[in-house]
């Protein structure tokens, strides 16, 4: 099996604060990898390293190597990296423009102009994000009029429209109600056929339901990384066991 990302001895600092401590593991291709752990343990921070969103924080300082395929992410132009590694955020953040324009935003930014091509792409992406049936009559409406769950699926559609290899999801369901959460989880199950998905979640049930691999983070360290089944069935580390059995966190 190929690895999309390989993380080697990564240390990350926000100013003086040591956020990630000597993290190393690989993200396998076309699988769902979940990051779990108590809040503030650095899981979102690592996720943001994969598409270099941490560049936007001036005080952030990264040591170690993160490879995307065979190139270090620090050597890839962030624009290129981000076209190939999409991201869905914790809070649904559609742009205050029409549903159509939201999905077409990424391709247009890359210079796609052909109206038919864009149209096909938008419809296709919305279908893949299983949102098309709900919004097909109001593609020109403002995206902010959608419900929270719909907005999040729109964000996923927006991401798919770029045809990335990887989709990073930063607690994509934490702001949603259970039904909307279920829909997103179903969607992730379908999407993993085509995409490598890395998802940060604070919900262990969610991780066990949807992921193939799980990394358990604590205080900036990766305590355990293995297939989801083995991590939840027989955790090798005492701390992992304590966490998944709910003794803390």
């Amino acid at each position: 099996m190929n690895n999309v990302f390989s993380v080697k001895n990564v240390d990350l600092f926000y100013g003086e604060k040591h956020v990630l401590k000597n993290v190393s593991f690989d993200i396998p291709e076309k699988q769902v990898t979940a990051f779990i752990g108590p809040s503030g343990c650095g899981k979102s921070t690592l996720l943001r390293c994969f598409n270099r969103m941490n560049d936007l924080i001036p005080s952030c300082n990264i040591k170690g190597e993160i490879h995307f395929h065979d190139r270090s992410v620090q050597e890839i132009n962030p624009i290129e990296l981000r076209t190939r590694v999409g991201m869905v955020f914790q809070n649904p953040n559609p742009f205050p423009m029409s549903i159509f324009d939201n999905v077409a935003y990424g391709p247009r930014c890359q210079g796609m102009k052909n109206k038919k091509e864009i149209n096909d792409l938008v419809v296709d992406s919305l279908k893949k994000a299983s949102l098309y049936e709900e919004v097909k009559d109001r593609l020109k409406d403002n995206a902010l009029g959608l419900s929270g769950g719909q907005q999040q699926r729109l964000c996923i559609a927006r991401c798919i429209a770029m045809k990335p290899e990887v989709i990073l999801m930063d607690e994509p369901t934490s702001a949603l109600d259970p039904i909307a959460t279920l829909k997103i989880e179903e969607l992730i199950n379908v999407l993993k056929e085509e995409y490598t998905i890395v998802i940060v979640t604070h919900n262990m049930q969610q991780a066990s339901r949807i992921s193939d691999y799980t990394a358990f983070f604590m205080l900036g360290e990766v305590i355990e990384f293995s297939s989801t089944i083995s991590l939840f069935k027989n955790p090798k580390n005492k701390k992992t066991e304590d966490y998944i059995t709910g003794r803390f966190g």
Binding site: N77, R84, K163, P164
Partner: protein, 317 residues
Amino acid sequence: MEQLLSGAKLATNSAIKRKTTLDKAVHGVLFVITLLCASIIVFIVLFIVIKGSSPFLKNYSIGGNLYKVNLWTFLVGSEWYVYPAKYGVGFIIVDTFYVVFLSLLIAVPISVLTALFISRIAPKVIGKALSYVIELLASIPSIIYGLFGRAKITEGVKWVSSLFGYQSAGGISAMSTVIVLAIMILPTITLLSLTAINAVRDDIIKGSLALGASPTQTNFKLVLRGAKSGIFSGIILGVGRALGEATAVSMVAGNSGSGPSFNLFDTTRTLTSTMLLGLNETSGLDYDIRFSVGIILILMILLTNLLLTLLKRSIGK
């Protein structure tokens, strides 16, 4: 691998390079523009100082004679005439401060009490309406205050002065200037005091009331004390506005030729009215010396701001 890259198909290397270069260029241009905006203050001070110092360095030909202004007589002088050229700004500084000080004496109590009234005493609707009135006053341009002052306030001052048996110059006087200035700085001080009074914490007020103080006592002893730093900021801003106000003041001050004069019914002369009135030529000593007055004005504003800020700090302790 080829199939995987389809996601970034459009983002070719050259396209990305172009975007990155554009980003850098935009960043650079924006930075330069921002620097330009920041450098305005430097240009203002630089150019005015250069032009304003020329009357003391250069000889001007007036009626065939060469004339140069002596810096010392300029600073302490008590006369300002074009013919014969006598330029002394000393009495103007004194007159300016006299007028501004008196206008503060009128405006500060009114402003502070108005703010107190809006914030703590008036019913909500009335308070809101009154604060809107103050905002409207703040938005009236100075030329209209000047017009009102010239037409109405001078009329009133003329009447009052005649009661004292004093023949004033049609009401154009220090008194009119003081009143116009007081009206003009009233909204500034009121609005800042209002913000300060609104910011006084509610639990402190409740504590005072719970100790048996009457609402009025609480308002005057506690609220005003708690808001004094903000009120002082308002006063500082008001003084700045009063010192720099030109149009309205020029319409009622009268530009007396000598002084200082502390008679309220007499005409007066402020730094700004000196700069604005009788502006005919755009060259020569009478024009250039206005820039020297400009330097003095900037210095006065900076100095009073500095002094008041220091005073505010010592009071705040």
